[in-house]
């Protein structure tokens, strides 16, 4: 399968009054055309910062992207032929603006705060269409109503002039999705899109995105706290820890043959069948390291049951432990398992 996005060694830091927060220290991953990549990791591990870095959405200052590449192999590009990728990190203001909402759509966690409270739902969708596709107000309105219907909002024509507070949580998240897909993007980035919703609605939203992905031939990056969600919908999974990508693998490989002690812990913390409630990843022992002064050794060493001497001396690089399965650990745990 062809790659659509390739992120290499992304380094993002925040220059705050307390010191330099090393939010991302060299994150690499790639995304294939038409695949769903799940990203998991404790809160604060850098999942959102990674995605916002790609689209220049972080506040600068304090944020600074200090290294890396993010090659975007757009193949719906009119001007240059598919082959030439663009480095998102090198784009200027107007360049990245065409990508945002145009070729890459963003779905945020809490749709209530992510939608403008004093602008109608319809206007928030048509605004994007007018900006990217140069539609007139009437054309954009017509298209927005179609989009609302497409994401499963009943009585779309009437709802066009409603305000976010008049919608239920699920409908608001559907609206966010309509905004994100409005310009027929190649990639959708969903940053914990279902965390604020109850379980039934969550399932509906996941189903909707899966359907849209197929029908619109998009690639999806799905950030979540919930390993159960990842198991159900992702093709591959990236595990992040303290600003690094510690493991990336096809979903079955990751669940049956995890290669990094952190992933193994996460899976151990997963609720067994029949257990009640949504399980948060924070529930594993210990706390993540302080990003103000990252150590010159394995970030996970303090919490790792397998930490050996060399783990305290150097930072492990990612290694391929089986085809398409990479882990950043000195030892090969996957191989030792039956």
């Amino acid at each position: 399968m062809a790659k659509i996005l390739e992120v290499n060694d992304l380094i993002t830091r925040f220059y705050t009054f307390d010191g330099v927060v090393h939010a991302l220290s060299g994150v690499s991953f790639d995304l294939d055309e038409g695949e769903t990549l799940g990203i998991v990791g404790e809160s604060g591990s850098g999942k959102s910062v990674t995605m916002m870095s790609l689209l220049h959405l972080l506040p600068t200052p304090p944020a600074r992207i200090e290294g890396g590449k993010a090659l975007f192999y757009s193949n719906r590009n009119e001007q240059n032929n598919n082959t030439d990728p663009v480095d998102l990190l090198q784009l200027d203001k107007s360049g990245i603006r065409k990508i945002r909402g145009g070729k890459i759509g963003f779905i945020f966690q809490d749709a209530l705060s992510a939608l403008n409270p004093v602008m109608t739902i319809g206007r928030q969708i048509s605004e994007t269409l007018i900006e990217h596709l140069g539609m007139t107000v009437d054309e954009a309105k017509k298209r927005s109503i179609e989009l609302l219907e497409y994401v499963g909002i009943p009585e779309a024509e009437k709802r066009f002039s409603a305000y976010p507070h008049q919608f239920s949580g699920g409908m608001r998240q559907r609206t966010m999705i309509a905004v994100a897909i409005a310009c027929n993007p190649e990639i959708i980035i969903a940053d914990e899109p279902t965390t604020a919703l109850d379980v039934t609605v969550q399932a509906q939203i996941i189903e909707l995105v899966q359907r849209l992905k197929k029908e619109m031939k998009m690639s999806v990056i799905w950030i979540t706290h919930d390993l159960g969600v990842v198991a159900g919908m992702a093709d591959r999974v990236l595990v992040m820890y303290a600003g690094s990508a510690v493991e990336i693998a096809p979903v079955d490989d990751l669940f049956y043959n995890p290669g990094h002690p952190y992933t193994i812990k996460l899976l151990g913390a997963l609720p067994k069948i029949g257990e009640e409630g949504q399980h948060r990843l924070e529930s594993i022992d210990g706390t993540p390291p302080d990003l103000l002064s990252p150590p010159a050794h394995c970030q996970f060493a303090w919490r790792c049951p397998h930490a050996a001497e060399k783990c305290w001396q150097a930072v492990p690089a990612a290694r391929e432990i089986s085809p398409g399965h990479h882990a950043a650990c000195f030892f090969d745990f996957a191989a030792r398992r039956p």
Partner: protein, 314 residues
């Protein structure tokens, strides 16, 4: 929304009744008006006759009731000094004060909001320092002092504007303002401008980091449109209250500014009537100003509700 408007309306009426109460008893505690009306050589009998005639002999509650029932139709009695109904005098002076207040409000809006917006969107920049400085000065410099400086520079030295009085321009049956309003309006606008700068700045700073602003950027909306459509639009809701309150304050007439510039408005009339102990007129102006402020507050609340869909669709 109807419930919202209704409750604000009831509140406003209660406040106005309270104002009538205060205005009435204000006169009771400042001494006997009859002694002011008659010469010092009046006999006790003459005083008694006068009291009888003006109704000051009746029980206080009766007096208050009759005061209120006349006040609600705008009758505050006659001015001792001008020998005219007090309300007529107010109506006569009103256009000058409205002209001054509207001009001052426009100046403060036109300068204050853009300065606040620039300042809030580039905190720490050169323009931020300028705007914040202006805002702070606007709220701390006494406006009568500024008025004197302006007269010195722009009237006395440069001769660009008249130093006092109101000149109007009559055109097709309309009375239009001339440059004579500029200096008094500018002096008067300074405080409001300072408030608008500071308020707009902090609102923009706060709203800038809201999630929906990040969403707007993530849709590829250009910065300028994000600022106007998303940030300023949201900031304008709380701004409505500030503008409403400030306009009420401007409309009730400024004693200092109108006196310095001999501006024939309500503030000037009030200063004069206090000097003359012209009770009916003082009462009428006090009530009228409160009425303007309360009405504006009510209108502000309604505008606020209309601007915010979360209130409009309750």
């Amino acid at each position: 929304m109807q419930k919202y408007i209704f409750s604000r309306l009831v509140q406003s009426l209660c406040i106005l009744f309270g104002v009538l109460f205060i205005v009435f008893f204000m006169m009771q505690v400042t001494g006997d008006p009859v002694s002011l009306l008659l010469s010092r050589h009046a006999t006790p009998q003459e005083v008694e006759e006068m009291r009888e005639e003006l109704g000051y002999n009746r029980p206080i509650l009766i007096q208050f009731t009759s005061f209120v029932s006349r006040a609600v139709v705008g009758d505050f009695g006659r001015s001792f000094r001008h020998k005219q109904p007090a309300m007529d005098l107010i109506i006569e002076r009103l256009p000058a004060t409205v002209e001054l207040a509207v001009t001052a409000l426009l100046i403060s809006l036109i300068l204050g909001i853009p300065l606040g917006l620039i300042s809030g969107s580039n905190p720490g920049s050169f323009w931020d320092v300028i705007s914040r400085g202006t805002g702070l000065l606007g709220q701390t410099i006494p406006n009568f002092w500024l008025a004197l400086i302006l007269i010195l520079v722009f009237s006395v030295n440069l001769g660009w504007f008249p130093s006092f009085g109101r000149e109007t321009w009559h055109f097709m049956g309309l009375t239009l303002p001339t440059r004579s309003v500029i200096l008094p309006a500018f002096s008067l606008s300074l405080f409001t401008m300072g408030q608008l700068i500071r308020f707009t700045r902090s609102a923009v700073l706060e709203i800038r980091s809201e999630d929906y602003v990040r969403t707007a950027y993530s849709k590829g909306i250009p910065d300028r449109k994000v600022y106007i459509r998303h940030i300023l639009r949201n900031a304008s809701i709380p701004l409505i209250s500030i503008v409403g309150v400030q306009f009420g304050y401007l409309l009730s007439g400024s004693i200092y500014i109108e006196t310095i510039f001999s501006w024939p408005g309500l503030g000037n009339l009030l200063a004069e009537s206090i000097g003359n102990r012209d009770f009916a007129l003082v009462q009428a102006i006090a009530f009228f100003s409160s009425f303007v402020v309360v009405t504006l507050n009510l209108l502000t609340d309604i505008a606020y509700g209309l601007a915010d869909p979360r209130i409009r669709y309750e």
